[in-house]
């Protein structure tokens, strides 16, 4: 059996879940024996293979138009979609923005902050447009939810090794935590 292709991406998060993936330390070499790591922020492939991957992993919630695109693209190219970490599962800390209007947040950042000089809100078409912050499952269907901020390295190792061996991982007991 060929190694299952895995692609990962990050959206409105902090990269901490990907760092927790690296925190599996020496077992990383073991995981890389089991899976074929394709597009990921730590490789130079820019998006999941058009021909598809088995597992897609998304870190972070969805807080703008670019994230919507990333989530839909990953969903369309993977068989099993994993929402990794509290932001992907619930929206997480970035979803605190939903208590304010986007306009208020942008005004604070680019106009009102004490160090900003002659500020204005950037609107270049190259930039993503901010939206309400959402969990991944509010935008696309998610198959496996892995909460935690971040999920511990052991949980991530468990999820990847189960998937690599063709099983759907169970997230329960000591593997299920919210902090």
């Amino acid at each position: 059996m060929s190694k299952p292709k895995v692609a990962t991406d990050w959206m409105a998060g902090c990269a901490g879940c990907h760092m927790s993936l690296l925190d599996i330390d020496e077992r990383l070499l073991q995981v890389l024996e089991l899976i074929d790591l394709r597009a990921s922020p730590i490789t130079d492939l820019k998006e999941a293979d058009e021909s598809g991957v088995v597992v897609g992993v998304l870190e972070g919630g969805i807080n703008n138009t670019a994230n919507e695109h990333q989530a839909k693209l990953m969903r369309s190219r993977c068989k099993i979609l994993v929402a990794l970490g509290d932001c992907a599962v619930f929206g997480g800390v970035p979803a605190m923005r939903n208590f304010f209007t986007i306009e208020e947040s942008l005004r604070r950042a680019y106009i009102e902050t004490e160090s900003t000089v002659d500020g204005f809100i950037p609107t270049d078409p190259e930039l993503a447009v901010p939206t309400r912050v959402r969990a991944v499952s509010e935008v696309v269907l998610v198959d496996i939810h892995v909460p935690g901020c971040p999920p511990s390295a052991d949980v991530i190792f468990h999820v990847l090794s189960e998937l690599a061996q063709g099983r759907i991982p169970e997230i329960k007991d000591e593997n299920l935590h919210w902090h």
Binding site: W10, M11, A12, G13, C14, A15, G16, C17, H18, M19, L22, D23, D25, E26, L28, L29, L37, S40, P41, I42, T43, D44, L45, K46, E47, D49, E50, N63, N64, A66, N67, V93, P94, M96, R97, F99, F100, I102, S105, R108, A109, Y110, T113, E114, S115, T116, V117, D118, G119, F120, P122, T123, D124, E126, L127, A128, P130, C149, S152, A153
Partner: protein, 476 residues
């Protein structure tokens, strides 16, 4: 003929989301201008309003999972100032120890896992293997050592703060746990190996530099000011102290307490990026631009107070005859010298008689209502500034993150490298990778930058003079 635009999206092997657009001249033979777009906005500066001061060391690390300790400590330091509760000396030592753990893990990871593929496998290596997996296959021994170096730094953080990422340790007024003798000895056990791996990395870097001098000399070399914390005697300082700004000639422009930063530092906005552009107010935008992080820090100091790092620094300083070093690719070298310092500093801190003290929290407050916390994060100077009401509730906050200070430098480096290497009409992937490497050298943390501001993926669009996209390169 219509001029092209190349888009690189996302920029990979950096933290966060960015894209680069390269606008060609009308003949499509050479580059007119290239931009680095940081294209996500998050809004921490708004949504933390109303939260309690003591929550900030837990909320703000979620700005960045690569250097969460920087935000954890800067938030605690700002909290110290808001409450008027300077921490006891043992607490400051323990915070600094955690910070050294972070410098080791973050710098170590950047050199090997993020930049390493370019340095060890080559800018022109096949993009399908130009990553950590390719490193494992091509250089398994050093890759295992690199994984262990990162682990060593992460373990220091876990031992002190309960977990490796988003620890709970620093609180306004001090820290919440003393260090046990057993844990001190545990940290000491791994130290020699950490130093040895860092020294191997330095020799890899020097070999690479000797073989790639042409790239180093033509790859985004430009003058700016330099900025960061410093000791009283102009030594390298990462945790606390005054801020020093020097000009491109190496002369001191300013030296001031971190709490006065607003008198000296302003932030400029450009329409094409969510990341603001800090500058030195007296010189204005853009004359007052400066660089931070390892390259900036080693340019503002005269010495390093640990022996191995100082020996290495003396050699490094000779690269430009004692003048500031302007080469973007030397960020990698300076980053490793700092890693060596951090490892040696771990020993100094652990040998301090106060390190096992239980006097770790100042509970006598003299409430000030406003406070600034500054730290040298791995990527540069990080500033947290809070205003709170008498209940300790945040009324407003201002954040200037490390990567922000380097925004001008990253944009300038992208523009210069694109102009140097990208020539039409056929554009090769390895050249575009060099444009990305111009960003990567700064080890940007775009989640940090987009605290307030955006994150960083990378596409290259080639657009014509009329603005039509002719070619979009996304590496697949």
């Amino acid at each position: 003929m219509v001029a092209q635009k190349i888009t690189i999206e996302p920029v990979t092997r950096i933290e966060g989301h960015a894209k680069i657009t390269i606008h060609m001249k009308e003949d499509n033979q050479s580059v007119d201008h290239a931009y680095l777009h940081v294209n996500e906005f998050r809004g921490f500066e708004k949504f933390c309003e109303g939260r309690m001061v003591f929550e900030m060391p837990l909320i703000t690390p979620r700005i960045c999972g690569i250097c969460p300790v920087s935000h954890h400590l800067a938030a605690a330091k700002a909290g110290d100032a808001v409450l008027g509760a300077p921490p006891p000396r043992p607490a400051s030592l323990l915070r600094e120890l955690m910070h050294m753990g972070q410098i080791i893990q973050s710098h170590g990871m950047h050199f090997f896992e993020l930049a390493g593929p370019d340095l060890l496998l080559g800018f022109d290596a096949d993009p399908a293997i130009r990553n950590v997996v390719g490193l494992v296959q091509n250089a398994p021994d050093i890759t295992v050592k690199a994984v262990q170096l990162r682990k060593y730094g992460q373990e220091i953080i876990r031992i002190l703060g309960g977990r490796r990422i988003h620890p709970t340790f620093a609180v306004p007024g001090g820290v919440n746990k003393a260090l046990s003798a057993a844990d001190r000895d545990l940290i000491l056990t791994g130290l020699d190996q950490a130093i040895e791996t860092t020294q191997i990395a330095i020799s890899i870097m020097k070999d690479w530099a000797a073989k790639n001098m042409e790239d180093i000399q033509k790859f985004a070399v430009f003058p700016t000011g330099y900025f960061g914390l410093i000791t009283e005697e102009n030594g390298l300082e990462l945790y606390d102290g005054n801020l020093r700004l020097i000009g491109s000639d190496g002369e001191q422009l300013e030296r001031f307490p971190a709490s006065n930063y607003l008198d000296f530092i302003g932030e400029h906005v450009e329409n094409w990026s969510y990341l603001k552009f800090p500058f030195y107010k007296k010189l204005g935008w853009p004359d007052g631009v400066y660089r931070v992080g390892p390259l900036g820090r080693l340019n503002i100091i005269d010495k390093i107070d640990t022996p191995l790092a100082n020996e290495e620094f003396k050699a490094y300083r000779q690269i430009n005859g004692g003048k500031p070093i302007e080469n973007t690719l030397y960020y990698h070298y300076s980053r490793l010298i700092e890693t060596l310092f951090a490892a040696e500093r771990v020993k100094v801190l652990l040998d301090d008689p106060d390190i096992l003290s239980k006097d770790i929290l100042n509970t006598r407050h003299n409430f000030q209502g406003e406070g600034v916390g500054v730290i040298e994060a791995p990527r540069g100077t990080l500033i947290h500034h809070y205003w709170a009401n008498e209940n300790g509730q945040i009324q407003k906050l201002n954040l200037i993150v490390s990567t922000g200070h380097n925004n001008y430098a990253m944009s300038k480096a992208v523009d210069m490298v694109a102009k140097t290497y990208v020539k039409g009409p056929e554009i090769h992937e390895g050249l575009l990778n060099r444009v990305e490497a111009a960003v990567r050298a700064h080890d940007p943390c775009l989640s940090c930058s987009t605290h307030a501001v955006g994150q960083m993926p990378m596409i290259i669009d080639v657009v014509d003079a009329a603005g039509t996209t002719i070619q979009t390169l996304k590496r697949e």
